[in-house]
């Protein structure tokens, strides 16, 4: 709760800083505020903030995910500054909106009540509708904003209807009481229908096929930094909420929804990877890759054990770091070339080796090559699920086998030509190189010493 308040105050401060200066100032304020929030998230929760007993709980898992989301947001703020939007004069509002969205994420990490869940989802999403359209002169950005808003509204409708049905049968919004209800009344039809509707709504939010239709367009149309934010922080928040609702609230009726989820996973893995293969634009390819990762992640629902939440956190952290690494490269290329087709990346490794290596390590991590964090993440999820559903794991493996082809394509374009196509004398700013080195080290360190993460986050 105190973390939430600090982030909220930081957002307000960043917003008002825009009155005095154009963006730079509010960026520093945001980073400092987030660092404070990161520090506070390690402290035990003060008694004063602990009185919202049945609305918000700051559990170990909530703390873990909060830390991850804050780290990723800080990294993204380090990258901020250009290519953010073509309206340089309105930078501070964008930082503030990202922070408000992060507030929604933190609410989702700690919700204990379906009302809080709904609030969290909305606080997370509404700033994003604006952020997606922040490149006001770009048609694609406007399209992204409208599309995201309409689809988000649909998802909200499903979510509310689902919550209503659940409330109608269980008579409570409290997650743990719903848990007890589900354990006792496993045959309640209305309750199960509510669960399935909520599943659909949350599948919309995490962009799981076939409810992913909005995401490639939105991810492509939004300014790249916002896309990176959506792919990482928003995905972490929405997926953890998804995980918590389904595994705690509807644990008793797992049989009712698990098969639906299995089908969704198969569709997601197949569709996203095949579509990713067909793309000629790197940003769109990454959008499909982002959808496919939801497919691997959702395997976490099979063969649950007491390490599942930790495995989920590990995978999401690895994936988000990798995303920041690749998107950073993309932001730079987009700034110089004004486009993001594969050819735009030609020979990047010759002129900017550090960020090219960061992107390559990121993509190898997404593909699950050993010695990167992505491999350990995939490994632990597969090892957990293989006992109960070997078939789904096989599908996931085939999916990642397809995915390697499109990641490789981008790496090849960056590394294989001997001449660089970047003829300008402009070099990446120092902050980019710092973030790149951080990402390379973090991905390799987590891949080689997987326990590092557990120790760092108090497990």
């Amino acid at each position: 709760m105190s973390v939430l308040i600090i982030i909220f105050l930081t957002a307000i401060a960043a917003l008002f800083a825009g009155v005095f200066e154009k963006g730079k100032f509010s960026r520093y304020i945001s980073i400092i505020g987030l660092l404070v929030a990161f520090y506070v998230s390690f402290l035990p929760e003060a008694e004063f903030f602990n009185q919202y007993k049945h609305m918000f709980e700051y559990t170990v898992n909530a703390a873990l995910f909060t830390k991850i989301a804050i780290v990723i947001t800080i990294l993204l703020f380090f990258l901020g500054g250009f290519s953010f939007s073509n309206h340089r004069s309105h930078q501070s509002e964008l930082y503030a909106l990202m922070l408000f969205s992060l507030c929604g994420g933190v609410v989702l990490f700690g919700f204990q009540n379906l009302v809080t869940l709904f609030l969290g989802v909305e606080i997370l999403s509404i700033p994003l509708y604006v952020l997606a359209g922040s490149n006001k002169t770009d048609l694609r950005s406007n399209e992204a904003s409208i599309k995201y808003f309409l689809m988000g509204a649909f998802a909200t409708g499903f979510l509310l209807f689902g919550i209503a049905l659940v409330y109608g049968s269980a008579g409570t919004f409290d997650l743990y009481k719903i848990h007890e209800f589900s354990m006792e009344n496993s045959k309640d039809f209305m309750f199960a229908a509510g669960a399935v509707l909520m599943l659909v709504a949350l599948a919309f939010k995490v962009s799981m096929a076939p409810f992913h239709m909005w995401s490639p367009d939105v991810y492509q149309g939004s300014p790249s930094l916002i896309t990176a934010f959506m792919m990482s922080v928003v995905k972490i928040s929405a997926f953890f909420a998804f995980f918590k609702v389904m595994t705690i609230g509807f644990q008793g009726i797992t049989g009712e929804w698990i098969n639906i989820l299995g089908v969704l996973i198969i569709i997601t893995l197949f569709l996203a990877n095949v579509m990713g293969l067909a793309q000629s634009n790197a940003k769109r390819m990454l959008a499909y890759s982002s959808v496919s990762h939801v497919g691997y992640l959702a395997l976490i629902f099979f063969g649950l054990n007491n390490l599942s939440a930790y495995n989920l956190a590990f995978y999401l952290f690895a994936y988000s770091l990798a995303t920041v690494g690749v998107m950073m490269c993309l932001i730079w290329v987009e700034k110089l070339k004004r486009e993001t087709s594969y050819n735009a990346f030609k020979g990047l490794a010759q002129s900017e080796p550090i960020i090219a290596v960061a992107a390559a390590v990121g993509m190898l991590s997404m593909a699950g090559i050993p010695l990167t964090a992505g491999f350990m993440g995939k490994f632990s999820i597969f090892a957990q699920a293989i006992e109960t559903t070997p078939f789904l794991v096989l599908v996931a493996v085939l999916g990642s086998a397809i995915s390697i082809a499109y990641y490789l394509r981008l790496i090849m374009v960056m590394f294989f030509p001997k001449e660089s196509s970047f003829n300008t004398s402009e070099r990446v700013p120092l902050t980019y190189n710092i973030v790149a080195v951080f990402i390379i080290i973090a991905l390799l360190a987590l891949g080689i010493f997987p326990d590092l993460f557990a120790r760092q986050f108090g497990l």
Binding site: L307, I369, A383, V397, M412, F415
Partner: protein, 497 residues
């Protein structure tokens, strides 16, 4: 003593980091220095290696540290005779391969040497790890450097296509192996090798696992229907890439077959699976050899000859394995395969290098356009024929003893199979001598021959050192056979119960 192994493992990694960082044309000497240090270290370890121990004490130089509290996997390394042999192969060939590139044009050369050393690190990890997950990780670590070598320095107009094909093929193969290993792991206490051996799997589970794990090895070797990446990759990679791939990297799969596949899943070998593999391997032998005969591209010819030779190794291993699970302990197939793996490594590196030398003289890989070089380059003619005869398997060369043991072990299983497998001896003589004859004798392009030079210093030293191995191991193969004996006995006897 375990510090020796730790040094052996980490030296190439440190070397590759240093070479990567040092952007200087002289970095090639540094890389060579690291490779030589590594070679002498492994000779030193060989000198202190105890060959005479019994089955129980085969592991030496063990390192064992806990790795992760969530994954029951340890950083467990150690060497037995089989590992020792392949370590030697790696550490002898790496300096030779580095040396062989000394005459190439510079151009990001420090990256090139850094990648070779990184590859060496991965290979040593594969050959020494005693933990399933570690094995898989190192198995993949070797893939990235070789892919970059092939991609950055490969033939310009083809490289996107063939490198993608190569990477996707091998990556898919290894993913299946990973799934197989994870499944075994969920039924055993940990990823430790002995636990994997003792996992309680029923026969049908074992059959599925067998094919999953086999698929990875089949792609890497490659075995007959999974080989379509191989000719392209061997042809269009830079020569050093082809040498690394065929000389050392495919031995990872021979090693994996013996160390992982056979002991973890002995049951399917008793059924029909083992026989299917045997048949596929023999088809590969004949198929590869027949295509090599009609091949005019020199590197492609070597690629198909490699397919044929590898098929023989797998056939030998499977023949002995089938006999063993049926109740008669036979280790000859494994012995022959390992001896042949060592010999094939030396020979194929030599063949690729000779093809490279010919390419430099004639500016073409088409053997129909070559001819008459023997007059202009007599030193090359002598060393080339030694390498060729080694590959053909002439008695008193290193190729002979392995092929002999392999064909004998196949003969013990089935006479018919041995007849087909034995065709490799005849066919390899046909295509390799045709290759030699076309390139070295007959009519050649006079302008080329007038300006053709004999071997340069680098070329001479590389080919001589390879030729020495061809002859010495041909005359005196016994140490190699003794080295692998006890570890093979352990592996094959563990299949019996």
């Amino acid at each position: 003593m375990s510090y020796l192994l730790l040094t052996l493992l980490l030296l190439p990694l440190v070397g590759s980091a240093v070479v990567f960082a040092w952007k200087n044309p002289a970095s090639k000497f540094l890389a060579l220095g690291f490779a030589f240090a590594q070679m002498f270290l492994s000779f030193y370890m060989l000198a202190n290696f105890d060959h005479t121990v019994t089955v129980d004490g085969v592991l030496q130089y063990e390192i064992n540290y806990p790795w992760s509290q969530f994954i029951k996997s340890n950083l467990h390394f150690g060497i037995d005779g089989m590992s020792m042999l392949l370590l030697l192969l790696t550490n002898i060939l790496t300096p030779i391969i580095i040396l062989s590139s000394f005459n190439e044009k510079p151009g990001y050369r420090n990256t090139f040497y850094g990648l070779i050393l990184l590859m060496q690190f991965g290979l040593i990890g594969v050959f020494t790890s005693l933990d399933g997950l570690l094995f898989y990780i190192f198995w993949e670590v070797t893939l990235i450097p070789i892919w970059l070598i092939a991609g950055i320095w490969g033939q310009e107009n083809k490289k996107i296509a063939f490198t993608t094909k190569f990477f996707v093929y091998t990556f898919v193969g290894s993913l299946f192996m990973l799934i197989g290993l994870i499944y075994v792991y969920t039924h055993s206490a940990s990823f430790a090798l002995t636990d994997l051996y003792n996992a309680n799997l029923n026969a049908s589970e074992q059959t599925v696992i067998f094919w999953f794990i086999f698929f990875a090895f089949a792609v890497k070797l490659p075995i007959f229907p999974f080989h379509s990446w191989q000719p392209d990759t061997y042809t269009y990679s830079p020569t050093q890439g082809s040498m690394l791939l065929s000389g050392i990297m495919l031995k990872m799969a021979v090693y994996g077959l013996l160390r992982y596949l056979l002991p973890i899943t002995p049951d399917p070998i008793l059924g029909i699976s083992g026989q299917i593999v045997l048949v596929l391997a023999i088809i590969g032998i004949v198929h590869g050899a027949l295509i090599a005969i009609i091949q005019n591209d020199s590197k492609r010819l070597i690629a198909y000859s490699s397919l044929s030779h590898v098929g023989l190794m797998v056939a030998g291993i499977m023949a002995s394995a089938i006999l063993t699970v049926n109740g008669t302990l036979m280790i000859e197939g494994g012995e022959g395969a390992l001896v042949q793996a060592f010999a094939h490594g030396i020979n194929v590196v030599g063949l690729f290098y000779c093809a490279d030398i010919l390419y430099k003289r004639f500016k073409t890989r088409d053997i129909r356009q070559m001819g008459g070089l023997a007059k202009a380059a007599p030193k090359f003619a002598v060393l080339f024929i030694i390498i060729i005869l080694g590959s053909v398997g002439l008695p008193l060369t290193n190729g002979f003893i392995g092929e002999f043991i392999l064909i004998k072990s196949i003969f013990d299983y089935s006479k018919l199979a041995a007849i087909f497998a034995g065709l490799t001896l005849i066919f390899s003589a046909v295509y390799l001598l045709r290759f030699y004859g076309k390139a070295m004798f007959g009519e050649g392009d006079d302008r080329v021959l007038a300006s053709a030079e004999d071997l340069s210093g680098v070329e001479f030293s590389v080919l001589t050192s390879l030729a020495v191995f061809v002859i010495v191991l041909g005359v005196f193969p016994q140490p190699i056979i003794e080295m692998v004996n006890s570890s093979l006995k352990f592996i094959f006897s563990s299949m019996m119960n």
